[in-house]
Symmetry: C2
Subunit: 328 residues, 2 copies
Amino acid sequence: MASSNLLSYAIIGTGAIGGYYGARLKQAGCDVHFLLRSDYEHVKNHGLVVESIDGDFALAKVHAYNTPSEMPAVDIVIVALKTTHNKSLPDLLPLIKPGGAILSLQNGLGIEGAITQSLLDHSINVPTILGGLCFICSNKVSPGHIRHLDYGKILLGTHDDSNQLCEAAPLLESLAADLQRAKIPIDTTLDLPMARWQKLVWNVPYNGLSVVLDATTEEMMADKGIRALITTLMEEVVNIANAWGEHISPGSQRGVSADVITQMITHTETMAPYRTSMKIDYDEGRPLEIEAIVGNPIRTAAAVKVAVPAMTMLYQQLSFLNERNRAQ
Amino acid sequence: MASSNLLSYAIIGTGAIGGYYGARLKQAGCDVHFLLRSDYEHVKNHGLVVESIDGDFALAKVHAYNTPSEMPAVDIVIVALKTTHNKSLPDLLPLIKPGGAILSLQNGLGIEGAITQSLLDHSINVPTILGGLCFICSNKVSPGHIRHLDYGKILLGTHDDSNQLCEAAPLLESLAADLQRAKIPIDTTLDLPMARWQKLVWNVPYNGLSVVLDATTEEMMADKGIRALITTLMEEVVNIANAWGEHISPGSQRGVSADVITQMITHTETMAPYRTSMKIDYDEGRPLEIEAIVGNPIRTAAAVKVAVPAMTMLYQQLSFLNERNRAQ
């Protein structure tokens, strides 16, 4: 199946995101290797099943592993773990071919820097680090069974250690070609950090409040007070992003336009009722990605002296609920 | 039983508060008349049962009514309804003897003013209005059955329409004597509005967050972030109180000391785990006293130009949860 022009992939974390995109790449003929934990036996024996608005498909046989040391060297390691597991990432990496890269498909802020640091802490050579922001509704409904409900685009960018604009890494063109062949819509950005900030404008209010209020996007949008609160939280994120942009690249006008707030609210009104990823994690008793999505932005706010009272309260509430949920 | 020196009472709302204090007054020999709704038949036939840390007792026979027009004229009407029912108060009042008074034992801000206004709206002569702040843990566990768990003091003051310091109404001395005879500890204040503000310093964070976080006081106090959030909310209440004090009585130093925050937090740490009254209302599917406890203070904050971002967010969250709870 695989043509020699295609890249090889390791998927670290074969869940809603890694499972879906990995299966699509495999379906398109790429050489894809899946690292699994609890679902290893099932996927090794039965492969992957994908229900998708873009067409259902099954992969009866996939390369499944439960130890990274048994995996072959690959061009691209796709990290699709929850950020709460990033501390163990150095122990989960297979070998990366010369000129290869790590692509994080994780949510939140400071992701690529944290991956870089964890590799350095383990004296591992740091390859090119790419970031991909996934605009997708997808769930893992049972072992090896992914349900892709809506959207699917990935916004790709290359990480720069000093957070400046960054030209696309040489590998990114081949990656983009593979993704397109795999029916995954893509877009690219030179400003990966600001793209992350922009995604946080949505993620902070909707992920956070969905857990605190036990609510879907639809229920929140139907309430006037919660709409106002969502706007307040979005404004705080935009304020930090713009202050940080000015701090890191003075005079550059790097930032997030306030228009994004209206666009996101209008867009969310027309979405199907949606249980956010943080709410799914909460309902499943998994740790919440609070630090990547709310904690890191709040710490940036403190560094650039922006007041974020609503985000601070949200963080305190989420931390309490997460602790209690984990203890139960 | 009743001595001619004692006052006569009507209890409007025979629940956790009205049931307890009314039963204590009756036990002490006062002439007490209880207005009831759903518990009318039960209490008419079986009287009231009080389990109390200060001694259990039962009143096999009490004057029970389901229509205020059948009640005799009394010296003091004790209003112990939830503030959410205050709109119907004018229809629930019995006659008040000349020189009599209405005593509100309700929580929150703007209570006495709202009662005054609702009487005026119904062209009812406005008697002396007294306010009593109840520092008590008590629940109604079944019809006519009150469980008094802790504390019990009432802080009494006389309402002044322009919110100035107010000398005790003539009736207040007799009322205080009756309450003391009924084993109800009392204290008095000339500054009823500021006493209400001070009580809000506790009620806003603990009542509000207990509903949003589904938590007891003990669970909240065990979490560092929630302790910080409680402090933030308390600071906002103190800030409004002090700005309002200066606004209403310039140069008077009327206000709430910031020391109250530390005292209340220290005190709450030593309390038994406590489900707040708002949480009980929420769990029982009853409307929450959001406007009296959070909404009115926020509107005062706007009037005196004090920023209250945490209280605003709390209000938005509570309003959402209350609406959904009522719809279910």
